[in-house]
Amino acid sequence: MIYIILAFITGGLVILSMILNSGLAKRIGVFQGTFINFIVGLSFISLALLTTNNSMDFSFNNLSTVPFWAYLGGAIGVLVVATTNTIIPKIPTIYSTLLIFIGQLLAASIIDYFTGHLVSKWKIIGGLFIVSGLLYNSYIDKSQKDQNQLLDLP
């Protein structure tokens, strides 16, 4: 149960960081903002490492047992920022959330299959419910927007 709550809270943090990051990006630029984010994050985690008595193993023997691709998460994060900033302004918001989620769900099911997490038919059915909920809400958003345009509202 605790993990379910953690994953849910993380979603909230994503929105919070998106608002903060776009605020910073507007003032100094997207890539410069990302750079600052990594500097702040690096300082924050270094401080956490130094202040807690966490046992650290930086030995080559330990770090080399990890396949090299597992280290690429940080670089992929930067790639996500770069692609998002190029693509998202070019497609209607109605589609972006939906398409990003469909991509996530598809890749996630394949990954879960290969990493030994269970891929049951229920996960697929649940995913379809989520997609239909997103689709329904974007339809409501769209019709409200159209109505506002008719009434000449912002």
């Binding site: 993380t10 990594f38 990890v66 940080g74 989620f101 598809l106 649940g126």
Partner: protein, 141 residues
């Protein structure tokens, strides 16, 4: 074409959460986050150099705009824990749900300096569908 690229972002996010989660399992929560940031910093520095961008920190930027990176650390930490216990699809679905609810609350009350968009009650149906979907995912495991 751009629509295809949007799904590509989703695939990248799923891969990122997976790689980070595996790294956390092998090297520990703290060391993995340190590694992720060092490699991310190298990647973004390269982009800045290639694009020949300069960083100009104006004085009038509110200090809280700089906290995004710290929140990012907590996000990766929580994601890594969730990934190793729930798998990637449930972690991402729950995250999406948390995102939607937070966005609705911020929009409705116009928090954090965002413009106010009152919640359209018709959208409750969509949120119920999303909730049922997550419920099925958790119960069906």
């Amino acid at each position: 074409m751009y629509k295809l690229s949007a799904s590509f972002i989703g695939i990248l996010i799923a891969l990122m959460v997976t790689f980070n989660g595996i790294l956390a399992k092998k090297t520990g929560d703290y060391v993995s986050i340190l590694m992720i940031h060092i490699i991310g910093l190298i990647a973004i520095s390269l982009i800045l150099i290639i694009k020949n961008k300069r960083i100009n920190l104006k004085k009038d930027i509110p200090i809280y705009f700089f906290s995004g990176g710290a929140i990012g650390v907590i996000m990766i930490f929580f994601n890594n824990i969730s990934f190793n216990n729930l798998g990637v699809s449930l972690t991402l679905s729950l995250g999406l749900f948390g995102q939607s609810i937070t966005a609705v609350i911020i929009d409705h009350f116009g928090l954090l300096g965002m413009s106010k968009h009152t919640f359209n009650k018709k959208k409750t149906t969509g949120f119920i569908l999303i909730f049922i979907g997550i419920f099925i995912m958790i119960i069906g495991g």
